[in-house]
C-alpha cells in the first residue's frame, strides 16, 4: 500500500516534469524562428524589429530553466563520476542523498529570491531596458516554477534512493 502511494507520487511528478520538458522543447524552433526573422527583417526589409532581441532572450531563459528538471529525470546533468561509478549501488544512493540535498538547498534559495524579485517587479513595474520594454514579472514566475519542478524531481529521486537503501528494492524501473 505504502509502496503504491510512493509510486503514484513519483509517477505524477515524472509526468508533470516531462510536460515542462516538452514545453521547453517546443520553444526551441520558435526561438530559432524569432532570431531568423530579425535577420530577415533587418537585412531584407531594412527595418530591424524592436522586439526580437528581448523576445529571443526570454525564450532562451524559459527553455534553459524549464528543461532543468527534465534533464534531472533523464540523469542528463553533468557530474564527475570517477569515484561515483566505482562504489556500490547503496553507497551511490547515499552519495545522491547528500548531493541532492545540497542541490535542493540551492534551488530553494532560487525560488525564494525569485519570489522576492517577482514582488518587486510587480510593485515597481520592472521592465527590460530596451525600447520595447517588456515586463519582467513573468520571468520570475517562470523561475519559481522551474526551480519548484526541479526541487520536486530531486525530492522524488531522493525518495526513490531512500526506498532502495531501506528495502534493497528499486521503486520504479527506469523506462529508458
Amino acid at each position: 500500500m505504502f509502496e503504491k502511494i510512493l509510486k503514484t507520487i513519483c509517477c505524477t511528478i515524472d509526468w508533470v516534469v516531462r510536460q515542462a520538458g516538452l514545453l521547453a522543447s517546443f520553444i526551441m524552433p520558435l526561438l530559432a524562428f524569432v532570431v531568423a526573422f530579425e535577420v530577415f527583417s533587418r537585412y531584407v526589409l531594412s527595418s530591424p524589429t524592436i522586439w526580437a532581441f528581448d523576445l529571443s532572450l526570454f525564450m532562451f531563459g524559459y527553455l534553459a530553466a524549464l528543461g532543468g528538471a527534465y534533464a534531472q529525470q533523464k540523469r542528463a546533468h553533468i557530474n564527475v563520476d570517477i569515484l561515483y561509478l566505482k562504489v556500490s549501488h547503496k553507497t551511490r544512493c547515499v552519495f545522491n542523498l547528500v548531493s541532492f540535498s545540497l542541490a535542493i538547498f540551492f534551488l530553494v534559495i532560487i525560488v525564494m529570491m525569485s519570489y522576492g524579485k517577482y514582488e518587486e517587479a510587480i510593485e515597481f513595474d520592472y521592465r527590460r531596458q530596451s525600447e520595447w520594454a517588456p515586463p519582467m514579472f513573468h520571468f520570475w514566475i517562470m523561475m519559481m516554477i522551474a526551480g519548484g519542478l526541479f526541487i520536486a524531481q530531486l525530492a522524488r529521486d531522493m525518495m526513490a534512493e531512500l526506498f532502495f537503501i531501506l528495502t534493497s528494492k528499486v521503486l520504479i524501473e527506469e523506462t529508458q
Binding site: S25, K74, H77, I78, D81, S99, F106
Partner: protein, 440 residues
Amino acid sequence: MGIEILTVVLLLCILVFFALGAQVGLALGGIAMAVGYMTWGDGIFNVIPTTLEATYFSFILLAIPLYIYMGQLLTKSGIGDAMFNFSQMIIGRVRGSLAISVIGVCSMIGAMVGIIGAGIMTSGSIALRPMLERGYNKRLALGVIMAGGGLGILIPPSIPMIMFAASTQNSVGRMFLGAMVPALLTVVLMILYVVISCKLNPDRAPRDIDNKDIVKLEGRAKFKIARDGLFSILLIVAVLGSIISGIATPTESGAIGVVGALILAIMFKRFKLDMFLHSGFQTATLVSVAMWIIFGASVFSNFHLLMGVQSMVAGFTASLDLPPIMIIIMFQLIMLLLGFIIDEFIIVLMCAPLFTPIAVSLGYDPIWFGVLMIINILIAVQTPPYGFALFYLKGIAPAGIGMSEIYRSVTPFILLNLTVLILCMLFPDIVLWLPNLVMN
C-alpha cells in the same frame, strides 16, 4: 575568514562534492551559497537574481541553443552523416580520414562560433556519432571533438579575444590575426597526431573498405550521398558566408543554419515530424544542462569575486620579483591554476587587465601576450576537475562514457595545445608575423 583560506575551503568543497558525483552546476551554486551564508549571512543570497539575469539575458550565450539545434537537425535528419559519408567516398582509403574530415568541419564551426560551449556541443552533435558508428576508438573520437570544438575561441570570431582586447585597449583586428597562425598550427598538429596515432594503432580508426558490415554503394545511392553531402557542406559555407558578408552576427547566423537545415531536410524528403520533435527535445535537454552549469558556476564565481579573489591575485602578481620571461611563465602558471576553480570568461576578465600592463612594461607585445592567454584558457577549460569543456563534452557524449574516459581522451590534445603555447612563447613571430604583415 581571509580570502586565501576561503579559496582553499571552496576548492575542498568542490573536490568533495565532485567526488560524490554531484551535478556540477547545482553543486557549485549550492557550495557558494552554503559557504556564503556562513561567512557573509543571508545577504549573499541576493547574488542569485542578478546572476540569473546576467546569465539568461546574455545574447552571446544565445549561440549555444541555436548552434546545437542546427547540429541536432543536421544529425537527426541524416544530412550531417551524409557529409561524412561523402568525404569518406573520396578519402576513405586513408586511415583516420574521417577524423581528419571532422577536424575540417570543426574548424569551420570554429569560424562561426565564438564561445567554447557552442563549439564543442555543435561539433559533438554533428560529428561524434559518425566516428563512433564506424568503430573509431572512443577516446580518439572524443578527443578530436574536444580539440576541434575548442577551436571556437582560437579561430576568429572569438568572444574571449574581444574581451581581452577591450579590457587592455588593444586592437581586436590584430588579436584575431595574431591567433590565426597558432590556430592553423593547432589544426596541423591535430591532423598529424591523428595520422601518426592511427598508423601506430590501426584498430583505433577502422577503414570502411575493411568493414564487411558496410555495404558497397552503387549508382543511385552513391549519387544521393554525394548530393546530400555537398549540400550540407554548402549549408556550413552559407552560414559562414552570412557572417562574413554582414547578413548576420555570429550568434544570429546559428538561426540561419537552423532554417537552412530545415529547408535541406524538407528538400531531400528527410523531414519527419518525429525527427523534428526529437531534435527540439534533445536540444532543450543539452541547453538546460549547459545553462544550469553556467548559472551555478557564475553564482560561484560571483560570490568568490565579491569576497575579493581578484585582490588576492593582484597582490600576488605585484609581489613577483623575477626575471621577465619567468614572470611571463609565472602568469601562465597562475592562469592554469586558476583554471582549477574559475571559468574562462572570469580568467580573462580578471587576468587580462592585471597581467597585460606588466607584460608590456617588460617589453613584450600585448597581442602576443593576449594570444598566449587565449591558448592558456583553452587548456584551462580542458583540465580537471573544473573544466567547462570537459562538462560540455560529457553532455554530448553517449550515455555510459564516464568522466575518467573523458579525461583520458583529451590528454593528448591538451598536450598539443601546450606545445602550441610553448612554441608561441619561444617564437613570438608565430603570433606577431601575420598582424605585422597585414596591419603595419
